[in-house]
């Protein structure tokens, strides 16, 4: 019985909390631009509003345009269910191999880019071209950062990685710091945050992620926005739990899980404030300087691997 409860929490935690953290980041950024900014629960209301609006679809679009939001959203749900959020006792070793995670993310990006191309507008085309270029270059860094951790833990299963790193002695944390920097770069790129892409803008020169979802409206836009929020939370959770794995519930008792949930939310809040601060303090890079940033992420994780092995 308690297993099913824990399972439902694991399944629903990410979709439930992701708009909240989106609101937090927007609030902090507004504060930095010394304006009050919308409340942190604004994203929930946005989703609710969008779910109840009619939608307009272009006649050029094909069934891929209509089907893509569902597929992207469900891939983020599966991702959310298979990464360590608050507990590391899950023997769920079916989907939590880090290569599966990487390729599920790639599946989502693939269909998002196709949807962007489908409407045949110049913005969508350029958005997906830039998105696919960046996605192609981040894949190296993403795989290698998780690879470094899996060499440390001698297993590619995320849960056993968290278990191994939590009992790691303090002094060999240097490689993990390197990998964390690499992971942060990858996270910022995948979730379309500042140095790579401005999530809030509609200026066709700079936008990457937004350009692809310009044509969406109504419930499909809601699903896409929600999926983007889920993805942001998933990467925050990965960043938090893989590199600072303390406080994950070891066994299946109610007290432990509640405490773990509290610690998890605190860690993710910390990380999202870090992202918001970063986003307000630095400018967006020119598109053709991004590859060098992504290659540094890849090199950092390769150096970490050399240090570990």
């Amino acid at each position: 019985m308690s297993g099913i409860i824990v399972w439902t929490i694991q399944l629903t935690l990410v979709p439930a909390l992701s708009p909240f953290f989106l609101g937090v980041v927007r609030k902090i950024k507004a504060r930095f631009q010394n304006r009050v900014g919308a409340s942190i629960f604004r994203p929930y209301r946005d989703l609710w509003k969008l779910f109840h609006k009619n939608e307009v679809i272009s006649e050029d679009a094909s069934w891929i345009f209509r089907f893509a939001p569902y597929l992207i959203f469900s891939s983020t749900i599966i991702l959310g269910a298979s990464i360590p959020l608050f507990s590391n006792f899950f023997a769920n070793n079916l989907l939590s191999d880090f290569l599966t995670i990487v390729y599920l993310v790639a599946l989502g990006t693939f269909f998002l880019a196709l949807a962007g191309l489908d409407v045949g507008s110049a913005f969508g085309g350029f958005g997906s071209s830039r998105e696919m270029t960046l996605a192609a270059l981040t894949e190296g860094g993403f795989i290698f950062s998780l690879l470094a951790l899996s060499f440390l833990a001698h297993s590619t299963n995320l849960f056993s990685i968290t278990r191994a790193i939590s009992i790691l002695p303090l002094f060999d944390f240097l490689p993990i710091i390197l990998v964390f920097i690499a992971f942060v770069i990858v996270m910022l790129c995948e979730t379309a945050h500042f140095p790579f892409d401005n999530p809030a803008t509609h200026l066709e020169l700079t936008m990457v992620h937004e350009a692809m979802i310009l044509e969406y409206s109504g419930k499909k836009l809601a699903l896409i926005e929600w999926a983007a929020a889920n993805k942001f939370l998933i990467f925050l959770a990965l960043g938090a739990n893989m590199f600072f794995p303390w406080g994950l519930a070891a066994q299946n008792n109610i007290g432990g899980i509640v405490a773990a949930l509290g610690i998890f939310i605190f860690k993710v809040l910390l990380l999202s404030t870090f992202v918001a601060v970063l986003e307000s303090s630095m400018a967006k890079f020119r598109f053709f300087r991004l590859p060098d940033l992504l290659f540094t992420a890849f090199i950092l994780s390769v150096m970490a691997i050399f240090l570990i092995l």
Binding site: N54, E55, V56, S58, E59, D60, A61, S62, I64, Y70, L71, S74, S75, I77, I78, N93, L94, L95, D97, L99, T100, Y103, A106, L107, F110, A113, L114, L117, D118, V119, G120, S121, A122, G125, F126, S128, S129, R130, M132, T133, A135, A136, L137, T138, E139, G140, I143, F144, S150, F151, S155, T156, N157, E215, K219, F288, P291, V302, I305, L309
Partner: protein, 681 residues
């Protein structure tokens, strides 16, 4: 009926069918329809019985060895079909079956233009050649069948011969393959010299007496020879021009299966006969694999001819297979037999996968071309509305080739990643670096391949038609859709039951004498796939199951929640101006950002020609055209200088014949005196 006859009977039955098909189609050459049905029909029967033979060998383990001696000196037709050859016979027959079905419908548009009897004749000979290449066991007989295969495929490439550059592509292909065969002949001659026999088994027995220098020479010659056929990077220049020139179902066969014969011989020669003793062999193959995969996908990105794009992707996937093969050889030389078995399973699995999804993609491209009569992707667009089934199958093909989860590409790339990761853990620093580079290369190749196939699928099928050619396209015939459908289904089934298939392949690998008594590298409890050192597990059926359940539930919930909402169809947001096809992104536009990132490797060039209203006052431009090109590095720096050297050298030797009688008699006197001085004492 299944265990009705022995595998040997089915194998020779398929060869018989192909022989009848070839001869019959020559007889019916004049009547197109009959030649088409006869040739392809018999090819289908042949590949059917070929598959039965292969399955019987694979599962029931009935190897057979058969030798027909001939009156000619030291030539014996000796066949040995062990599990490795059966595996390749299975691939060849499977793809041949579907390609022939596809051919039945596809050839209709050749009816009045070309002589179909010749096409079917060489098609059947080509299939027979491939089947024999993977089962020949005597190097002399192997060389004969290898050349016949290249000869038949040469004629297929230049089949549509009123197009000039088909002929050029065909000649380049035939020259490169023949030079490759010359190197293979040298390798076998050196082996014959060291072991005194032409038969693979005898060579395998006394491989010990071969001195090291001869072994290394044989490795280099075989690498060059079979590499030319497999299309590895420095010798790949024939592949992007030859595969697109052939009719589609032939280029599907060539790209999916024929280049695998090179891989088969790599395995047969390096792993089994020479039992891969040298470390640097594996390292060279790994490095070639890295270059082939990375450069293959980069060149694919620059292409806007759909068939050339797919041909470059064959080079990329051959690179990935070579990564697996290279790590096998390294592990064998370091005596880590279990890891070697694992990486060989990865290489073989990717060979099977690549055969299926590459054939699917070529067939999709073929049906698009047969409807739009052009190969230039810039003139496609919006085809999903005109050819929905082909678009759907092409989508599945692109998902499979970019290794996205539910399909078979994912598992074989996952397995190749595992072998490279286990390679990273070896002690010696140099091989560790090579393995890391390989893993990094594979990661970037995966990402770039996904980007390339978004471009390919998006520009071809989505959004609005970019040219009038698309408007009269309509869904392709039943036989075309049927074969594409079955191939798509196969990629899905292979993807889901990857665990079971890899167990069969492990059986094939353990059949080789190098891995005779090796503990199995992984086990497949139930549906999951667990590496023996517990490093990683994945369960592909689970992924598919969970994915579909979640997708359906999400779709259901959203449908219920928002069933009252209305959906209005109107035009795309066009900031007020009417959206014309020119506003859509083009294939070159899509890939331009990646090309500028990798401009060091690709050396893109950009010419701008401007035409002015009035030639002397150069203010008002009438029109300006921009030509964006990628320099073909290999032709400029390697093949062209080689050819010029040959021509210059041959002009020198022509001076011997300078037409003066006195000089000719002087030659005779000189050679006479020279011989007297040197030879008599």
């Amino acid at each position: 009926m299944f265990n009705f006859f022995s595998a040997q009977f089915w194998f020779f039955l398929s060869l018989l069918f192909l022989a009848f098909g070839a001869v019959g189609s020559l007889i019916f050459a004049k009547k197109d329809r009959l030649a088409n049905w006869w040739g392809n029909g018999l090819a289908i029967l042949a590949s059917g019985s070929g598959m039965v033979a292969a399955v019987k060998v694979l599962c029931c383990g009935e190897f057979f060895k058969y030798t027909i001696s001939t009156t000619l000196p030291n030539l014996a037709f000796s066949f040995v079909v062990d599990k490795l050859s059966a595996f390749f016979v299975l691939i060849i027959s499977l793809i041949a079956l579907l390609a022939s079905i596809y051919g039945l419908g596809y050839i209709k548009h050749f009816y009045k233009k070309y002589n179909l009897g010749v096409l079917e004749f060489f098609y059947n000979i080509f299939l027979a050649g491939m089947l024999l290449v993977v089962t020949a066991h005597n190097s002399f007989f192997f060389l004969i069948v290898w050349e016949i295969m290249s000869l038949a495929s040469y004629f297929l490439v230049i089949f549509e011969n009123n197009d000039k550059d088909n002929i050029k592509a065909g000649s380049l292909y035939f020259i490169m393959t023949h030079i490759g065969t010359a190197f293979i002949m040298l390798a076998f001659l050196l082996l014959y010299q060291a072991t005194g026999s032409l038969d693979f088994d005898v060579i395998k027995e006394n491989v010990g007496q071969i001195p090291l220098l001869i072994k290394n020479l044989v490795f280099i010659f075989a690498l060059v020879g079979f590499g030319t056929k497999a299309g590895i990077i420095p010798f790949h220049i024939w592949l992007p021009s030859a595969h697109p020139a052939a009719p589609t179902h032939v280029s599907a066969l060539m790209s999916g299966v024929m280049i695998k014969t090179g891989i088969y011989m790599f395995i047969r020669l390096f792993v089994e006969v020479l039992s891969g003793t040298e470390l640097w062999w594996g390292v060279t193959i790994l490095i070639i694999g890295i270059f082939s995969s990375l450069l293959g996908v980069l060149y694919a990105l620059t292409e806007h001819d759909i068939k050339r794009l797919l041909a470059y992707h064959s080079i990329e996937n051959i690179g990935i297979i070579l990564l697996g093969l290279g790590s096998t050889l390294i592990f064998i030389s370091l005596n880590l037999k279990t890891l070697a078995a694992l990486s060989l399973v990865a290489a073989l699995f990717h060979t099977l996968n690549h055969a299926t999804f590459k054939a699917l993609l070529f067939m999709g491209a073929g049906s698009v071309i047969s409807q739009t009569h052009t190969r230039n992707m810039e003139e496609y667009g919006g085809l999903i509305k005109f050819m929905p089934q082909t678009a759907f199958y092409f989508l599945i093909g692109s998902l499979a080739i970019s290794a996205l989860p539910p399909f078979n590409g994912f598992f074989s790339e996952w397995l190749t990643f595992q072998t490279l990761f286990s390679g990273v853990e070896i002690s010696d620093i140099f091989t560790k670096l090579i393995f890391i580079l390989a893993a990094g290369g594979l990661a970037f190749t995966g990402g770039l391949a996904t980007a390339c196939f978004v471009k390919a699928f998006g520009v071809t099928f989505l959004a609005r038609p970019r040219s009038g050619k698309v408007l009269q396209a309509k869904e392709s015939a039943f036989s075309l859709c049927f074969s594409m459908g079955t191939l798509a289904l196969i990629t899905l089934v292979l993807g889901i039951f990857a665990g079971a298939v890899s167990k069969i392949i492990l059986g094939v690998v353990h059949n080789l004498n190098v891995f005779q008594q090796v503990s199995s590298a992984f086990f497949v409890p139930g549906k999951t796939f667990v590496l023996s050192n517990g490093f990683a597990t994945v369960s592909t059926p689970m992924i598919f199951l969970i994915f579909s359940v979640v997708l359906l539930s999400v779709y259901g919930i959203i449908k219920i929640l928002t069933k009252k909402r209305k959906v209005k169809i109107s035009c795309t947001w066009d900031c007020g101006t009417k959206l014309k096809p020119r506003m859509e992104i083009t294939a070159t536009g899509f890939a331009r950002s990646i090309i500028t990132i990798f401009k060091g490797v690709l050396k893109p060039s950009r010419q701008l020609e401007v035409e002015y209203q009035d030639a002397d006052i150069r203010y008002f431009q009438k029109s300006s055209t921009v030509k964006l090109e990628i320099a073909d590095v290999y032709k400029i720096y390697f093949y062209q200088p080689l050819q010029n050297l040959m021509i210059k050298f041959s002009d020198q030797t022509k001076n011997i014949q300078n037409g003066n009688l006195n000089v000719y008699v002087a030659y005779i006197l000189l050679i006479l005196l020279l011989l007297l001085l040197t030879f008599v004492f």
